[in-house]
């Protein structure tokens, strides 16, 4: 992990009686703000840290850092179930694929994540079908088809400008017929402020649900996103009931701290992280590793 403030190495100054000196408090605050936790969350974390430092009688800078790490990890609710629900239901003739819907604002990495997730499932011996329900963006379906070819999945696509709900319906129908294990439906990027496009997304989900249930709705959030990420998460969740978050582009310098607020507000965990543009650059979200990277701790 690269970072500007090598917080992990810096010396937190300790005052007697279980408190940090002023500079250290500022440094902690800066680190959290610069990681996009936002002002309110930053203050809350600092309050908790203050409590713990004084109640535990912290004696060394190392202890103080360990407490900060623990407070941050705890704020990410490490016990949440982060498994992606992508396994088929039922047996024999009644068997239906799991359906995963991928959504988010423009350019966050939805199509790439869809491809990477297919790769994980295929590597696990599963059969996967990709539904190209982005019929709007230039060459979006081609992009998904390239991913399908790359990872060994079938793809169902409609014509440019086709009704995305109809394409999603067809993809799931085909997935049921072909008895695949999972259908991953990629949707067009849309800003949460566009009511018409959000309605369209709601419809995609409802139409799919006429055949089988949607197991997982993944909201793809770009790690560079600032405070707007929370608004995005709220609105998408209202429309399609998000069940998990994918935090992409964590291979850059952005820390992705907005997920503290997102997880709490939605009550839904970050499940996966994107760490690059390649097919294998997808990993489970681990609160400890995430916090270490946020604090600039080199492992």
């Amino acid at each position: 992990a690269r970072s500007r403030s090598a917080f992990g190495q810096s010396l937190l100054g300790l005052l007697g009686g279980g408190d940090l000196d002023e500079d250290s408090w500022t440094e902690v605050e800066d680190t959290l703000l610069m990681a996009d936790l936002g002002t309110a969350t930053t203050l809350e974390i600092i309050e908790k840290l203050r409590d713990q430092i004084s109640s535990r009688g912290v004696r060394s800078a190392d202890d103080a850092r360990a407490v900060l790490r623990a407070v941050l990890v705890d704020a990410l609710h490490p016990s949440m179930d982060r498994a992606v629900r992508a396994l088929p239901h039922g047996e024999g003739d009644a068997r239906v694929p799991a359906v995963v819907l991928i959504a988010g604002v423009n350019g966050t990495g939805k199509t790439t994540t869809t491809g990477k997730l297919a790769r994980v499932l295929v590597a696990d011996g599963r059969t996967v079908l990709l539904g190209a329900a982005d019929t709007f963006r230039a060459a979006a379906a081609e992009q998904l088809a390239t991913w399908a070819g790359r990872v060994g999945a079938e793809v169902v696509r409609g014509k440019e400008g086709a009704d995305p709900a109809a394409v999603a319906f067809d993809a799931v129908k085909r997935g049921i017929e072909a008895k695949v294990d999972a259908v991953l439906v990629d949707t067009a990027g849309r800003l949460h402020t566009k009511a018409g496009l959000m309605d369209e997304l709601g419809k995609v989900k409802r139409v799919v649900e006429k055949q089988t249930k949607v197991d997982e709705v993944l909201l793809v959030l770009d790690a560079t996103t600032g405070q707007n990420g929370l608004t995005q998460a709220r609105v998408f969740s209202d429309v399609v009931d998000v069940t998990g978050v994918v935090l992409t582009k964590l291979d850059g310098t952005a820390k992705g701290g907005i997920v503290f607020q997102v997880q709490r507000e939605l009550g839904v965990p970050v499940k996966l992280v994107g760490l690059g543009e390649g097919a294998d650059d997808l990993a489970p979200f681990e609160p400890g590793a995430f916090v270490d990277a946020l604090l600039g701790v080199n492992q």
């Binding site: 610069m34 996009d36 350019g107 060459a139 800003l191 560079t224 990420g229 850059g252």
Partner: protein
């Protein structure tokens, strides 16, 4: 959930109307609220600090005008300072004396470069130019196809001699594009490049090589208005890695406050030329510093108050 800045300021400074001069305490209280507003708008922390210090300095010497309460007074100063940093006047594109004019686009993955290439092409075509779009993203799956579709929609030619998806050398394509433009009498060349991270030294090197191959008149750094605190690090990395002469802010049709505009402008000194505000090729405008200032502060109403005073 959050009150608007104007609400918060009003509550902090309710009873101070009619004082002759702002006290330090008034200024500090107001500065605290503005600091939060700026941070909530994703202005980068170091920029917030420098900015607040500047505003405090100015506010200390300010006389309170009869019609403005101290909060309004400070907000007025803040607004003026913001507009000053964002650039009072919009800078226009620089055209080459000897055509073709070369415009290169660079930025993080997914920031909106390819879409912007189409927007610029359409906009310039409507002004009777003959732009050529150049497909130098040979990496992202179907980036070339995407640019071809965008070019078709914009009604302009696309130079895409390599298929992409990992095949072809973008530096070579860039070089050949200039020949092609001269040959086919295009007076403008717009070079779309792959998205890249600031920390990716190899790809940053490639961007610099593309730059050297085409000798651009403008390198535009394309940045998503939703970006948070990373704006500074990323802008610095692109400044140092490839260098840019202007900035384009994209996805302004959302409700992000767009503090990045301030961060990038303040840190690199380069002007913001355009605002991209939608997925369609027409959704594109010159950048307006005054609109951006009130957007960042989320205080259109306060400004109206001040104007009416």
């Amino acid at each position: 959930m959050f009150d608007t800045l104007s609400d918060r300021l009003t509550s902090v400074l309710q009873n101070l109307r009619g004082k002759g001069r702002l006290t330090d305490a008034d200024i500090d209280a107001t500065a605290r609220e503005i600091r939060i507003a700026l941070l909530e708008a994703d202005v980068a922390l170091p920029v917030v600090r420098a900015f607040i210090a500047q505003v405090k300095e100015r506010a200390k010497g300010a006389e309170v005008s009869g019609a403005l309460n101290p909060a309004q007074q400070v907000v007025k100063i803040v607004n003026e300072e913001l507009v000053a940093i964002l650039g009072g006047e919009t800078r226009r594109l620089r055209f080459a004396k000897q055509p073709p004019t070369v415009i290169m686009l660079a930025g993080l993955q997914g920031s909106g470069k390819t879409t912007l290439a189409g927007k610029l092409a359409l906009w310039l075509r409507k002004q009777s130019h003959a732009p050529l779009l150049v497909a130098c993203d040979l990496q992202r799956p179907n980036a070339v196809t995407q640019l071809q579709v965008v070019g078709e929609r914009a009604g302009v030619q696309v130079f895409a001699p390599e298929p992409g998806n990992g095949v072809g050398d973008p530096v070579d394509v860039a070089r050949r594009a200039i020949e092609e433009a001269k040959h086919a009498q295009h007076d403008i060349v717009i070079v779309d490049t792959a998205g890249r991270l600031g920390v990716d030294q190899e790809l940053m090197r490639q961007a610099a090589d593309i730059r050297d191959a085409v000798q651009p008149d403008e390198v535009l750094f394309v940045v998503d208005a939703m970006i948070g605190q990373d704006a500074v690090t990323t802008a610095e990395a692109f400044r140092d890695g490839v260098g840019f002469s202007g900035v384009v802010l994209t996805k302004l049709d959302g409700d992000a406050r767009g503090g990045a505009a301030l961060s990038v402008r303040e840190v690199t000194g380069q002007p913001i030329l355009f605002a991209s505000n939608g997925e369609k090729l027409e959704d594109f405008d010159a950048f307006h510093p005054d609109r951006m200032a009130s957007r960042i502060l989320g205080m259109g109403d306060v400004l109206t108050l001040i104007e009416q005073a």
